[in-house]
Symmetry: C2
Subunit: 137 residues, 2 copies
DNA sequence: CCTCAATCTCTTGCATACAAGATACTATAT
DNA sequence: ATATAGTATCTTGTATGCAAGAGATTGAGG
């Protein structure tokens, strides 16, 4: 009988919990949640993505995205525009407010990464990331 | 500028997503969610824990536990009893139904672990678990 | 015995998350 | 031109997850 303490699902869930908590703390100054920040990062990489494209990039259901998008629009981080060529598609663009915050935002993420992996050597970091990618594919 | 794809918080979140999804699939036959299963495992280790003790063991807020506990009681997996010595404490006990299911449940968890870590050698599994524990302490 | 701080549980409010279905629009085949 | 299959988004319902506060009970000190 395996204890839940050796259950890989449980161990990942708790590592996830701690990681989210640290990032959440660093993002509080911006009034952003980790997921909202990730949402913005995908647009920083390529502005004007459709809702579905954002979902595929950050691996999120459109049902979940709808709520996040609404809150981001209300908070003034992004704006939603209908695609002129395809009436089904809603495209999302970063606002100026978002663009101005990106540098500081990236610094917060960098700090979070360093804090979480403080006790890891360079080789361990790479190995850990490989493991995370290799889980189930 | 770090891409979100190299962000350790994002990578853990997505590994978490995949792990939850696999376990969820294996638990569907029981009508249990991963968290409800974890809840039961803590009681399997020590029956009659208080709500707060369960929360500390599986690292969950009592606000979250309240809802989970309600659903588990309704589904007949556990029962709630007032502690005779301390009027503030609610203790939780596994039902016979839960006891009978534990062996099969453990097998599902075992299958999930193997499936998730299929491509890992024994050394890699141990290393990965150490990394997960070492994240931020 | 009484007060008060500590503890335990519960409730409310907000933010993910996903399944499943509804709706609107596009593209394809006839 | 039109039926239809496909695609994109949105909505609803259920289940976590945490912060903050309310309510009940206990225990320690005076």
């Amino acid at each position: 009988m395996i204890s839940y303490r050796d259950n890989i699902v449980f161990m990942i869930a708790k590592a996830h919990q701690r990681a989210q908590s640290v990032l959440k703390g660093h993002l509080q100054a911006f009034g952003l949640t980790p997921m909202q920040c990730l949402f913005m990062e995908s647009l920083w990489e390529e502005d004007g993505l459709s809702v579905g494209e954002i979902g595929r990039r950050i691996a999120l259901d459109t049902a979940t995205l709808a709520g996040i998008l609404d809150r981001m629009v209300t908070a003034g981080w992004v704006r939603r525009e209908a695609d002129p060529d395809d009436g089904r598609v809603a495209r999302v663009y970063l606002t100026d407010k978002a663009g101005s915050a990106m540098t500081e935002l990236a610094a917060s993420i960098e700090r979070t990464n360093n804090e979480l992996l403080k006790s890891f050597s360079m080789e361990e970091k790479l190995l850990f990331k490989r493991f995370l990618r290799d889980i189930k594919e």
